[in-house]
Subunit: 401 residues, 2 copies
Amino acid sequence: MTAFREIAGNVVAAQGYTAASMHCGIKASGARDLVLIRSDVRAAAAATLTTNRFRAAPTYVTQEAVADGFAQAVIASSGNANCATGSQGLQNARRMAAAAAAAAGVPEGDVIVGSTGSIGVQLPIETIEAGIAHLGTVLGRDDPESVPLGIITTDRFPKQIAVEFAVDGVPVCVGAICKGAGMICPQMATMLCFVTTDLAVSPTVLRESLRRAVGLSFNCISVDGDMSTNDTVAILANGLAGHTPIESGDDPRLPAFQTALDHCTWEMARQIVANGEGMTKVLVIRVTGAPTYEAAHAVARRVGNYLEVKAAVYWEQFNWGRICAATGSAGVPLDPALTTIHFAGTKVWEHGEPLAFDRQPAEAALKAHEIEIAIDLGSGEQAATAWACDLSPEYVQLNKV
Amino acid sequence: MTAFREIAGNVVAAQGYTAASMHCGIKASGARDLVLIRSDVRAAAAATLTTNRFRAAPTYVTQEAVADGFAQAVIASSGNANCATGSQGLQNARRMAAAAAAAAGVPEGDVIVGSTGSIGVQLPIETIEAGIAHLGTVLGRDDPESVPLGIITTDRFPKQIAVEFAVDGVPVCVGAICKGAGMICPQMATMLCFVTTDLAVSPTVLRESLRRAVGLSFNCISVDGDMSTNDTVAILANGLAGHTPIESGDDPRLPAFQTALDHCTWEMARQIVANGEGMTKVLVIRVTGAPTYEAAHAVARRVGNYLEVKAAVYWEQFNWGRICAATGSAGVPLDPALTTIHFAGTKVWEHGEPLAFDRQPAEAALKAHEIEIAIDLGSGEQAATAWACDLSPEYVQLNKV
């Protein structure tokens, strides 16, 4: 049962949020490169940040901003990641937060900062500060459809979603915008996602809900050590829907929100995959029968990252043996004799033996846009899914930045 | 001080070895696809095999052959990996060993078997058996230069080496042939290496020497979970040089052999890198100042596998920030403030700050064939080196198999 419905809009769908985006001058192309989001009141806030040890300056500022569980605005720029920029970079990220606080009229410590783009180049901070000041004057006057444009880089399309559901009979919205493209290898591009809701919820419960939603979505496409330097998922919950607050993880009203939030982050992750740099097909790798979730996840990720498998899918060649090789190289103590493998709907391996199959329909199935690889390890109850893209010559071409 | 000198030849350079290669019919191209190596006497033997869980049938036969520490022949085929071939594949690998034993006149349990090529296809075993029988009749009559041709697949050139040194005043040889190409990602292609020597050495000492040599060479380019299904390094030491045997790891005569063996495996690994599929440049990633070898190794491998770094090197673009991102994503708890990074000779990062540098010479350095990335973690004494290739559009093209 789906307790929510999709509606038009994004981070300004929920009550009490305004936003605006513009071209301030970071991108040479003249495309939009700055977005400001504001909540009318201080909001419960949480963020999940990259585990990359060379993480970008804005992630430190965001971490500080949500440390007390509250924030009120988001400032994000695209075209320059403000990463590997040292102390000047950190200073610039703080200047972005300060400028956004002034422009939005919120406390200086309540601004979440995100940046995406080139690494190792200092931000044109005066240009950005001027842009932020301008955004403050036009907050809420912009077409909502232009909001997600401010954070995209090599994305082929802007990414947004909003859903509505009810808590205690009052309507509640969750909306999001995100940016992300390079999915061939998850380290290839930053993923930024900003979520807003008018749910009334405590910071502790919100943090746990976000952690769960990210685990079921973005972590299937961009995980742990593979994370880019700037990856950020942040959420604001300003409580303006008007119901009494959810303050416990056992609150029976929480699952409706969790379902809605899970849907939003899942949809954002799906859109990132569908937008992979130079990709032509989506791979869905479903691993079942694993002794642990970690084992299932390791196999799914390995197969999704295996270049020979990606290349075979791009060329629509039914080279199923490469899936065996990828599976076996995941560092998981699996047994080929217990493993069953399906490639695009054709069972190719079972009971330690390759299976006979009709090549014509097997190869024809590779013409689909979405290709499923299903691997059952036959040694447990745990499962995990990973998404990936094929590997095309255009991908290498695109990485000439 | 180098205690050895390179000489012409390969696995037939040492006393008491003969070999022959031919086209038996596995490869449609008509190229050589089978090689037989024989020692006149039973030899101490050792092998290091892939850790891939879907390892190929021949690796099981090789494991059995060297289990008692002795073997006398090697049979290797190219064009078909005999992997993911189930019980029939295992039976076929045993038939190869039996045919080789008969052809070479050695005990059936003393044959090392190696195969490389496509995965998931059964061997044309009758064709191979006929070929092996023929090779038995021409052993030693072949031009030594043709021996390494029998195990190559997409390799652009055959790979071989031989060195000579002295033990107790008598000359000793170590020689090798190997096959391997796809170095962009180490999982891309099988690595086979066969080494022969006329050193007199116990199986226990030999096994430890091989383990060390592989750790310092092939494991820098193809490591652990990344291993292909068929990776095999095997050595025979038949003792025909005539000195009294080395039976202890403390024997003062051992270092001369270890140095010679290390050189052979290092050179074979270097030739594999120089032959990467679709590669145009070699990356050497040197990590120093690490708390543990494992940490150094993890960072070096990660940077060598990071597609954005590889693409930048291919395009000769001085995008040093991608090296920071790759370093930070290695899953090693390093501190950017303690880390120093050089890219192609230019220091780009130190004390937590990006450094100013002259762009023109920095970019010019990327025109070299071999590009060095040096990363000092500033937190220990351990070091590791990894080799990798750049990423070119041709690479994807080549993987249309």
